[in-house]
Amino acid sequence: MNAQLVLTQLFNGLILGSIYVLLSLGLSIIFGMLGVINFAHGAFYMLGAYVAYTIVTYVFPNFWLALFLAPIIMALFGAACEFFLLRRLYKLPIIYNVLFTFGLMLVFQDSMRMIFGSMGVPFNTPESLVGAVNLGFTYYPTYRLFMIIVTALCSLGVWLFLTRTRLGAIIRAGTDNSAMVDALGINISRIFTLVFALGIGLAGLAGVLAAPIQNVTHLMGMDFLIDCFVVVVIGGMGSIAGSIIGGLIVGQIIAAGIIIWPPIANTLIYLFMATFLLIRPRGLFGREGFHE
């Protein structure tokens, strides 16, 4: 167990973390404002990858185009879902949209299985990012470094947007009392759509980024879904900074687990979450009385 390996693992933790961050951010703001526990989030992530695949293979064989378009398409798709479906859930107790989004997840996954088959679809790393960079302690795939940078920028952007802009403030206010925001002359339903689109867009982005290093199948979101809930909770419900830091932490924990004893890697995060919540009942930045 040499230092070099440990360092490399930390880097891998960072990669995994960055995917978690993108997914949890969306999950967290959607839950925070719309009060929807989005079980379909992993499925949206999966759809993101498939959209990218479709673009690359049937529209124009260029990863960058896909990287640019797929998140936008997903965001629009998300907006549509919000507009036609999830809207109807807000009045209901949270528990009902668990069922609804779970159904949504099944539908998305199975339709991809029916269209593209259960074996998944091919997806290659863009030529320009093939190969590895010498980090001193190890050679590390260029593409993965690229992933880290992209996610870092995105999360920073989202964070600034939500905490520094007026629109961000509106979103946070809507998280407290959306009817009142409406009564103050702000079209809240449009904000809802926007928030959902944003969340799904991020999930889509994560999907595209993951596609080259993952097997793109209809089930690829499943493994991430539950983990992301863990991330959100460790970070604290409704806290943006929380999901970012939480995501990175969980990534590192898994990496650490691999160094200690690989089989326990995935269970370790639950162990951690349980103990962590025993010490900090509301995760890192969870607010009292918020969704509890």
Partner: protein
């Protein structure tokens, strides 16, 4: 016994039609139908009946469906049932209901080992054969310094044991092994460890999604340049799905659609015309198993389980799958030669779906564990 002949023979396939293996195994239903059709559709003077059920790749579902098939559907035999837990459960139901079960999809050696019973047969392959054949060959031809990455569940452990056994028998060395949780999506940590060990051969003991991820990432980290990769399971559909990922990797196959065995070409042609793609070796195995069962019933002129079982035990045959094939009475393993397959690079692929090159054939007695050594005490009826 008389009276039983009065009712028609009823054959069933219980397989994964919607789960992770569906892409491979769902077509086994078609294979069975085809076998019945080619057999003439009639037996003991009546039409052969057929039902199929989806085990969703879950052991509990499989178990329940097996009951439905034996009790409600009154089938005489169940074929296939991928996922070893599911296979074992159904095998137990077979014993309880005193009817036949021919395992194809599930490769656990427990079927023909500690959990063997008189009503359960294991067709075409098992994990030992999958590991040993390519294992021995690789140790001789690819190098003796191995690194393994193993899916952390019974199937993986099983394979790991057999692979290392093969390696040791050739005096090779295992540089390292990682047990990786099922459904792990990021293999890079293990790939990096492997890369540092710099092996001749990287053995990936996982299937489906995990196998693809692992291989993709091995390639990404440039491990493919320095080492050859061998897999535990690989099907033409898998390669079709993910393109060049598996190029130049090795794997054992129980059969390949280019096989020269008797009846192989006819079967493949029929299949091609029907589904305009060739069958994978699971499909072929199902076809073979069903055919051999029907023939056995025909031979003894009764579908009484005991009679049919006796007729199958120790039987030798030559068909598309195995030439010759032999059903060992000691452990009910159907044995035949194993094939070493190399996945072609996409530019080598001239004919559609011709993804593999048969580079060697391992005789049954080398590929399978000696019947005496399996700890199977075959019970009575």
């Amino acid at each position: 016994p008389t009276g039983q002949a009065a009712e028609p023979v009823k054959v069933s396939v219980l397989t994964d039609m919607s789960g992770p293996y569906a892409g491979i195994t769902a077509a086994n239903v078609e294979a069975a139908k085809l076998a019945i059709e080619d057999f003439g559709g009639k037996l003991l003077g009546q039409d052969i009946e057929f039902v199929a059920r989806d085990n969703m790749c879950k052991a509990d579902v499989a178990n329940q469906k097996a009951k439905e098939l034996y009790e409600k559907e009154k089938v005489d035999v169940i074929f296939d049932c991928p996922n070893s837990a599911a296979g074992l459960a159904v095998s137990n139901q077979a014993l309880l209901h005193k009817r036949l079960f021919v395992s194809i999809g599930s490769g656990t050696t427990r079927h023909t080992g500690p959990d063997c019973n008189r009503y359960t047969f294991d067709w075409a392959y098992n994990d030992y054969m999958m590991a040993t054949a390519v294992g021995l060959w690789a140790a001789e031809n690819l190098g003796k310094r191995w690194y393994t990455i193993t899916a952390d569940y019974a199937w993986g452990h099983d394979l790991f044991e057999h692979f290392t056994h093969a390696l040791k028998s050739k005096g090779g060395t295992l540089l390292g092994n990682d047990m990786v949780a099922l459904g792990t999506s990021d293999f890079s940590p293990y790939i990096i460890k492997a890369k540092n060990a710099d092996p001749d051969v990287l053995v990936l003991l996982n299937a489906g999604k995990d196998a693809v991820n692992a291989t993709k990432q091995a390639r990404e980290f440039g491990l493919k340049k320095t080492a050859k990769i061998i897999h535990a399971l690989l099907f033409i559909e898998g390669i079709k799905a993910v393109g060049d990922v598996f190029a130049d990797d090795y794997v054992t196959g129980a059969w390949y659609w280019k096989s020269k065995n008797p009846g192989s070409r006819e079967f493949v042609n029929k299949w091609q015309t029907k589904f305009n793609k060739p069958p994978n070796w699971m499909n072929a195995a199902t076809y073979s198993a069903v055919t051999q069962y029907l023939k056995a019933v025909d031979r003894v002129g009764s579908k009484a389980p005991e009679a049919v079982i006796k007729a199958l035990e120790g039987h030798t045959f030559n068909d598309l799958l195995a030439d010759p094939g032999y059903i060992r009475p000691e452990d009910h393993m159907q044995v035949g030669s194993a094939y070493i397959l190399r996945a072609k690079k996409s530019k080598e692929v001239t004919e559609a779906w011709d993804f593999f090159e048969i580079i060697d054939e391992i005789p049954a007695e080398k590929a399978y564990m000696d019947a005496a050594k399996t700890d199977c005490e075959m019970g009575g009826f």
